[in-house]
């Protein structure tokens, strides 16, 4: 029971990261029907932005909650700018061509970002500074033990970083929910994703809405990057490839274009992976199969529900 709860917590932590990235895939797909393969690299850009911000602002040596917040927001803004730039210069000129063409542009952008970072910063992993530190004036009862963990019950613990990831992810998702369902901009996003031309006839500047969607998605991915770096503090230029791919799988699993679906898909894949690593040996699945878990679940789900878990029937544009 203790291990089960522990695995559940670990799975949720990774799952929320996948969910944050999956949201960007799903929003861009919902609005442009484009698989933005460069999105995983935006996650990496976010982590690197956070890394350099932390050192530039001198926060690496003086961890604090406020500093972490500043790094997080700074990285989100940086990634949003990068995301909008990519949309403007690589995707917008190709919008009226076949989707396969835009996909090639996306692959090109992805390779460009990856190898630009390799050329500039080298292939070797860097150690991301630990930025999270609770203020000293908090009572002893609220402070974690020296390993940064809180005891739940038995041997099950939750680390302060895990709490941070879950809390920040939920907060960001609530903000996203509010933007999409409660603001005029969000309503316009939904309108554009349903029918681009009708949206134009409303006087909506659809180019602006699409750029905003890229900015939102990219900033969530960057948050995922900084949060991952707190949990597993090694960052490197190619870190976005596999994580990005799995997050994309999560988005498809939940029903691509469907925002709650992306969250559900992310959490499912995060937990499934953790459980395969934790319990797989008992039923003959070695932990080296971890990276195959996401795809296996996806294929099984799609064979029975071709539009994903929460997706409605696929709207192919004829």
């Amino acid at each position: 029971m203790d291990t089960f709860v522990q695995q559940l917590i670990n799975g949720l932590t990774i799952g929320f990261i996948y969910a944050l990235i999956a949201l960007g895939y799903t929003m861009v797909y919902g609005i442009l029907r484009l698989i933005n393969f460069a999105h995983g690299d935006i996650y990496m850009v976010g982590a690197f932005s956070g890394y350099f911000l932390a050192y530039q602002l001198g926060l690496a040596s003086e961890p604090s909650l406020l500093g972490l917040g500043a790094v997080l927001i700074g990285a989100m803004i940086m990634a949003a700018i990068v995301g909008m730039t990519i949309e403007r210069f690589a995707y917008r000129p190709l919008r009226k061509y076949a989707r396969m063409t835009t996909l090639i542009a996306a692959i090109g952008v992805s390779l460009f970002i990856e190898y630009l970072f390799v050329a500039r910063f080298g292939n070797a992993p860097r150690s991301f500074p630990q930025l999270l530190k609770l203020p000293g004036w908090l009572p002893q009862a609220l402070q974690p033990d020296q390993n940064g963990n809180y005891r739940l019950f038995g041997r099950a613990t939750i680390s302060i970083v895990q709490m941070l990831i879950i809390f920040v992810s939920i907060l960001l998702m609530l903000i996203l929910q509010w933007i999409i369902y409660r603001t005029k901009l969000g309503t316009a996003m939904r309108a554009v994703s349903f029918n681009l031309n009708s949206a134009k006839l409303m006087g909506i500047n659809t180019d602006m809405i699409i750029a905003f969607t890229f900015a939102l998605g990219s900033s969530l991915a960057a948050a995922g990057g900084v949060l991952t770096a707190q949990y597993n503090p090694t960052i490197y230029p190619l870190m976005g490839i596999i994580t990005g791919l799995k997050a994309f799988v999560a988005a498809v699993l939940g029903g691509i274009g469907n925002i709650p679906g992306a969250v559900l898909g992310g959490l499912l894949i995060g937990m499934a992976e953790t459980f395969v690593v934790g319990y797989g040996q008992n039923i003959g699945i070695p932990s080296t199969y971890r990276d195959a878990v996401a795809f296996s679940i996806l294929i099984l789900v799609l064979l029975f529900r071709p539009a994903g878990l929460l997706g409605s029937t696929v709207q192919e544009k004829v």
Binding site: A188, S198, L201
Partner: protein
């Protein structure tokens, strides 16, 4: 108010409109009738900037608008209820109307305009917080017209408002068109239902395979034997 001069439009290599010229004066209801595929929707899409003319000039209130982005034209006072209704099925009725007023900033005016839409089509009021996708065809058409009015257009373009609707609903829609006209809004109405269109308009143009083949006061056209035979089924 709206003038098209020798406008030609292509879809790729295929010419959809061949040098058409037409004008809509302030306060008029002008109708454009023609068979399926004659180029009626293409004409409207060109006026609203969704398509770019290959040749010719489109001017609105004296200014050239051909090829300008659609959202800028909406800001200048052109609004359109698209063919197939084009409502946002994933948005509620109220949100659809709000999107119609996307460029309006004054909250009180928006609320007033929304009330007006609800008075014009009481059925919409009942369905206010339903998703537009759950509405019937007639209700969606009402929503599309109500939504197009939310931007307070000076020129309203209606694309096939009676398409696929029951006769009783068609009657409601044309009553609404009369009402909108009486408030001083200029209307360009595209219709396959030539009978109703000619009855509710001042002037008419007939479009055949991308060319204007006839024009004149609606009354005269309705009496013309060629129109009677080809479009009125008499």
């Amino acid at each position: 108010m709206l003038v098209l001069e020798n406008v030609s439009v292509n879809y790729g290599a295929i010419e959809a409109l061949t040098s058409i010229s037409m004008r809509v004066e302030k306060g008029e209801v002008v109708t454009l009738i023609g068979a399926n595929g004659a180029g009626k929707t293409t004409t409207l899409r060109t006026i609203t900037g969704l398509l770019e003319p290959r040749e010719g000039r489109v001017t609105f209130e004296g200014e050239e608008i051909g090829g300008k982005p659609t959202h800028k034209l909406v800001a200048r006072g052109i609004s359109m209820s698209p063919e197939g209704r084009g409502v946002f099925a994933n948005l509620t009725v109220r949100e659809n109307l709000q999107m119609g007023a996307y460029l309006k900033k004054n909250k009180r005016e928006i609320a007033k305009d929304m009330e007006r839409a609800f008075t014009m089509f009481p059925r919409l009021k009942e369905r206010e917080s339903q998703k537009a996708g759950t509405l019937s065809g007639g209700e969606q058409q009402m929503l599309a017209i109500g939504r197009a009015l939310m931007s307070r257009p000076r020129l309203l373009l209606l694309d096939e408002p009676s398409l696929g609707l029951a006769p009783l609903v068609v009657h409601t829609i044309f009553e609404a068109i009369d009402e909108i006209r009486s408030e001083g809004t200029t209307i360009l109405l595209v219709e396959q239902n030539a009978h109703a269109a000619l009855k509710h308009s001042d002037r008419a143009y007939v479009l055949e395979t991308g060319q204007i083949v006839m024009e004149g006061p609606s009354k005269d056209l309705a009496a013309d034997p060629r129109i009677k035979e080809a479009y009125l089924g008499e």
